[in-house]
């Protein structure tokens, strides 16, 4: 059995598989299937300063090899999270990551500050949510935007800070470099690509928000490419995600340059996916003679 432990920004994870924000709630529903300590960590549903009702339905729909969502950051607000969800979460034996989103830099800073004095292990800066009018992705699609917000939050955040990148950009490498230079301890990538489906019967967009974020297997080759490009530009660790549904996909993202992984949409297809992925990963490591999962990171040998 190879060593599955990884350390990201000083935070030790018992294995590299983390539940992706927004796909796993605050963990309670999936605790029916297995102890949450099965996972290396949980990135909680994106939270905002104040409670948000989220978008009107429909909020999800299928696409070839994937899905769209426009949940719109429905969440009870940061204070409720700290008071009601965190105490339970911190007892589950897994790393707890708070994923935060805001309308203004000040929102982000105030949340980072509040979370700095809690049991949260890490803060994930969501500047890449495509499903809300204000806030989110507009910070994430330019280097200046990423640098500015990261630097501001950095000053208030006493926890390890991970910046989550949007794939809706031309040059992901420069965006990653901007996050690093502004003080991010780690990068997570990728969030969803903006997509749309139209109901040809009603001739209306399927999602009430018109557009939504594409996730699931369809995204995998984009994620692999972007992680690979980012890994060439930054020294801080990369938490890779986007379309992982099998252990083979996990290995690809590690080889491309990820030090840990998040999985999201695959929970909807198979709640037991993390168990299967970890098992496959373990066997691959043994078969290939690697003693530690971190030996895979960035091991791709480009032509």
């Amino acid at each position: 059995m190879a060593d599955l432990k990884v350390t990201i920004a000083g935070v030790p994870f018992q294995n590299p598989l983390i539940a992706a924000s927004g796909t796993f709630g605050f963990g309670r529903e999936y605790a029916e299937f297995y102890p949450l300590s099965t996972l290396g960590g949980i990135s909680c549903k994106g939270i905002t300063l104040a409670e948000r009702p989220g978008n009107p339905p429909p909020r999800v729909t299928e696409t070839p090899g994937g899905m769209l969502n426009a949940v719109g950051l429905q969440n009870p607000g940061v204070d409720h999270f700290i008071k009601e969800d965190l105490p339970w979460l911190q007892k589950q034996g897994t790393v707890v990551i708070a994923n935060i989103a805001g309308n203004t830099p000040e929102d982000y800073c105030r949340m980072a500050e509040k979370l700095s004095y809690t049991a949260v292990d890490m803060v994930e800066l969501n500047i890449s949510c495509p499903n809300v009018k204000q806030g989110g992705v507009q910070f994430g699609t330019s280097c200046a935007g990423v640098e500015d917000i990261t630097a501001q939050v950095r000053r208030f955040c006493k926890k390890p800070l991970m910046v989550k990148l949007s794939p809706n950009v031309s040059d992901i490498g420069e965006i990653a470099a901007a996050a690093e230079s502004a003080g991010a301890d780690a990068i997570s990538m990728i969030n969803t690509l903006t997509g749309m489906r139209i109901d040809i019967r009603t001739r209306r967009p399927v999602l009430r928000n018109n557009t939504g974020g594409l996730s699931g297997p369809a995204l995998l080759p984009i994620a692999v490419r972007m992680v690979w490009q980012a890994a060439q530009r930054v020294k801080i660790p990369i938490v890779g995600m986007g379309g992982i549904s099998k252990w083979e996909d996990a290995v690809e993202l590690l080889l491309a340059g990820a030090s840990a992984l998040q999985i999201g949409t695959v929970f909807f297809t198979d709640p037991y996916a993390p168990v299967k992925i970890l098992d496959g990963l373990n066997q691959y490591l043994d078969r290939s003679g690697f003693s530690s999962v971190s030996d895979l990171t960035g091991r791709v040998c480009p032509w």
């Binding site: 709630g25 029916e32 999800v60 899905m67 429905q74 909807f268």
Partner: protein, 260 residues
């Protein structure tokens, strides 16, 4: 354990109408947990999202669940192509079913089209205390009539084209029952939104509570992704988004805020 996944073998399969199929699966322990009005989330191989299908029948002795579904798109077409002996992966049982209360009360079940199946198991314990009004497009679309009759329920059919039973709406039948002094104390309904709204209005007029089973597009099916929103009214009058898969699919009619 509240729910789990399981590979379930198809034991029986029948075609009920031109596009509605009736399958019974060996659901093992999942059948023991199931309650009327809950649903199963069916994996369709090759698809990212599972398909929610209501539980139409529960046989705890045989560990089986009965599912009745209509072919609406790719996923249901793929399910319809399966045969006895094939297996489907279910995530089940999910959601909150009907609160049946005292089954000695007189109650009314109102179903429309493919909204009929979730009512069958709920109506069973009521026997002849339950009047059941089922609406369909036409005689060819009628499903499960005999099954409700086997429950001992008093069944009435309404069709849009008058080809079977009452020529008109299910709410006409509600009024007729009222006139006949069948004084039901609660209504349980499932069907297309316009029908549900009319049934709810009728129940309100009669001053009886109403439970309705709702649909919404889903991803996780367990309450984690917040995908299947439905606008609800809090006791204090405030509105918020609840979730069909966890807070429902059955809701008290008075809690629902109809959007659009």
């Amino acid at each position: 354990m509240k729910y789990d996944t399981g590979s379930c073998r198809i034991l029986e399969k029948q075609q009920l109408t031109v596009d509605i199929y009736d399958v019974t699966v060996d659901a093992g322990k999942l059948a023991l947990l199931a309650k009327p009005g809950q649903f199963v989330h069916v994996l369709v191989p090759g698809h990212t999202l599972r398909r929610p299908i209501s539980i139409c029948g529960i046989d705890r002795a045989a560990n089986t669940l009965r599912l009745v579904f209509q072919v609406r798109g790719e996923g249901t077409a793929q399910l319809a192509a399966l045969n006895c002996g094939d297996s489907i992966d279910l995530l089940a049982p999910l959601g909150r079913g009907f609160s049946l209360g005292n089954t000695g009360r007189k109650v009314l079940f109102v179903g429309g089209g493919i909204g009929v199946p979730p009512l069958l198991e709920a109506a069973k314990p009521f026997g002849e205390n339950a009047a059941v009004v089922l609406g369909f497009r036409s005689r060819e679309a009628v499903i499960l009539k005999e099954d409700f009759e086997q429950n001992g329920n008093r069944v009435q059919i309404a069709t849009d084209d008058g080809s079977l039973g009452h020529h008109g709406l299910v709410t006409d039948c509600m009024e007729a029952l009222e006139a006949e002094h069948f004084a039901f104390e609660e209504v349980f309904a499932c069907g297309p939104a316009p029908m549900l709204k009319a049934v709810i209005r009728a129940a309100e007029r009669l001053g009886v509570p109403c439970q309705v089973s709702m649909e919404q597009r889903m991803a996780c099916g367990v309450g984690a992704c917040l995908g299947c929103a439905v606008k609800l009214r809090r006791e204090d009058g405030g509105e918020y988004y609840g979730h069909v898969c966890k807070d429902g699919p059955v809701f008290r009619a008075r809690d629902i805020v109809w959007e659009d």
